[in-house]
Symmetry: C2
Subunit: 406 residues, 2 copies
């Protein structure tokens, strides 16, 4: 975490903030995975401010359609999520099932149907087996300690759950912000790139909650790419129940800045966890672009480099083939001048001021065998910077995705 | 070839048209490949009309800079090409070497230096070893039968040469158009995606030659993707020497239409050859989009589907996982309505009017084990269509590109 005012909560989960409970069970939708949990609920003890960021795909799951509608009211209290089936591309039955899932969760929790959000992840084009969902919902036991179990239930091909919580002080009140995310494939910049749920006990004014969530997504999940593909189901939702007792946080105040920082830290931490757990990945790639003429240019270059298959395979092979970085930078669409450019790979300068720098190749290869590869691109054209995260492209990714349904 | 007026020339090469000679040799630049030819020259017997399409990357080889300049005059007579070294990202020495290559070829051929174009392909960031190039140029024997040897010399990781020629009649004169191309990686839509050289004995008005070349590239190489990456060195050049004796072809005439068709046919044939020979590829993927609201939408959807890693891996695994097609269509940015959409995979309808169609899965799997996989997307929103070509993503691609320089 980048700010001393923001502390990481040990063993933090999505229920670390006051007033949140969660639980999960195995309904039988998921035929793979270690934990075999596939249905989870996250709930707040009272109606909460809510904000959401959704996939920009034109073909979306009914769960995205429904949750997007319900988030517009600015208030929600719970989310029900399943893994194993995306409830996408199944015709009108999709919305019928999404609404029934919300309705069943609302009955169980004793809250208004409209205050329950729905999310799904898994195979596209298959109707969700409601005959399995209905009895399973009853089996879910809600608990303040249920965060970890919830994080397990939203996983698909993830190899481990992704969760984090931080705390910070607002108005002399200790606030906590916890989150759980999933996602390892079909992940790409500029989309709300996976499922992520955030619960905080801070009181936050709903308009600010939405804008701060968008900003946090832009500097985290929207700078993340695994394979360039984007799901029909991605969403990021935050519930803020106000249990900390602070005055609601409004935009353009010191408290807003602190909250924004905490939310961005949490989202960036989860984005890095997701990149590192990319399908088949063995390495995290971190690309930082400095000196861009505009913020947009910085983002373009960082995202193009981190998503280039030739860069990803070079990193996989621990090959300091910096020509591939130049290729990706050149095709990014950003303003670039070859003679102003400098390239660093794991701190080793390979290109500067329009010319290659002779570098110790064995040393570079050795450094690239570590699990983190850091690329810095200095464009020398301005003051803007950006960081993007991704992973290497491996034979295992290809094998895995060639054998997914058959 | 799609028009009966246009006939394929048996064993056609880039020198099939009258007045063209070519030759090649091994200079020692290329340390891989079967044929070990790495330096070639293509020449016309007289100054010719010339047109070119170039990479849109902001970081380009000096050979692209120089050839782009020289093509602007509308006249050229020869091209010298090497494989094994890209002459890119090497500072000012790049232009010095590119100009010397052109100059040496001009001296050998006895023509003006400005009328010789240069192209390079290979590793980025290494100076081209002119000490090897200089003596090798003398060894090249130019011949009307040298087309096949030229096609071999421009290959890098290609497994076989790519060449084709067609003939057609204009003004009662038989015209021939021959071409050679290379490219198997770093290939993506919207760029002049590889090296391609076209020689024709038709007389063509230079302004029309440039516009018709742009149109041919848009329906062929710009609809081709191997890995989404784009080279610093890509170019497509056509020389038209007029040896057929026809009146120069001008825009908006029946002759122009025939020539456009012949050039597009040749470029599409080469584009398919390149897709099929994609690094590590085992299958050609052909995506046709029909019923789009605009030509741009049709192109967007076709190119997004054919370049999706998840579609490419599904095709590799002969997996009729049409949800991945929906995912790619949805994120393409084109206007799309789920309930108007129909999907066909190798002729089998999998989705229609907003709902999945139960299909014989074993049959679909079997058909996907063939070397050609054809995907048709009907958007149902308009009259526009487009076709894009690509290949499957394999473990071999990853292995190959993880081990390229080290």
């Amino acid at each position: 975490m980048s700010e001393q005012l923001i502390n990481t909560v040990e063993n933090g989960t999505v229920t670390s903030a006051r007033g949140f409970t969660a639980g999960s069970t195995y309904a039988g939708l998921k035929t793979y995975g270690q934990d075999k949990l596939d249905l989870g609920i996250l709930a707040s003890d009272k109606p909460s401010a809510v904000a959401g960021v959704f996939t920009r795909s034109k073909i979306v799951s009914s769960t995205v359609t429904l949750t997007r509608q319900r988030v517009q009211s600015g208030r929600a209290q719970a989310v029900i999520v399943n893994s194993g089936c995306a409830n996408a591309c199944v015709g009108p039955q999709g919305m019928v099932d999404a609404m029934e899932m919300a309705s069943l969760a609302a009955d169980k929790l004793g809250m208004a149907q409209e205050s329950v959000l729905v999310a799904s992840t898994g195979v596209i084009g298959v109707e969700i087996p409601m005959s399995l969902i209905r009895p399973a919902i009853d089996k879910i036991e809600m608990s303040p300690d249920g965060g970890h179990s919830f994080a397990g239930a939203i996983m698909t091909t993830d190899t481990h759950p992704k969760e984090v919580a931080v705390s910070f002080e607002i108005d002399g009140k200790r606030c906590t912000l916890g989150a759980a995310a999933k996602g390892v494939g079909m992940i790409h910049p500029d989309m709300a790139t996976m499922l992520c749920f955030v619960g905080t006990d801070a009181a936050v004014e709903p308009g600010f909650l939405q804008s701060t969530l968008g900003a946090a997504a832009d500097s985290s999940f929207n700078m993340l790419t695994i394979d360039g593909d984007t799901s029909t189901n991605d969403l990021l939702v935050v519930l803020a129940n106000g249990d900390a007792g602070n005055k609601p946080i409004r935009a353009e105040t010191p408290e807003a800045e602190l909250f924004q920082q905490a939310l961005s830290d949490v989202c960036q931490t989860l984005a890095r966890m997701i990149a590192r757990d990319g399908e088949g990945a063995t390495k995290l790639i971190d690309v930082t672009v400095e000196g861009a003429a505009s913020a947009q240019d910085a983002r373009k270059v960082a995202r193009t480099v981190v998503s280039s298959p030739l860069v990803k395979t070079a990193v996989h092979g621990a090959d300091p083939n910096w020509g591939r970085l130049m290729m990706a930078i050149g095709r990014s669409g950003a303003e670039v001048q070859e003679d102003m450019l400098a390239l660093y790979l794991n701190g080793i300068c390979m290109f500067d001021a329009g010319a290659p720098i002779p570098f110790h190749k064995d040393l570079a290869v050795l450094s690239m065998k570590e699990s983190d590869v850091k690329i810095i691109v200095r464009l020398g054209l301005g003051e803007h910077s950006a960081t993007a995260w991704g992973c290497d492209l491996t034979e295992e990714y290809v094998r895995f995705n060639s054998e997914y349904t058959t």
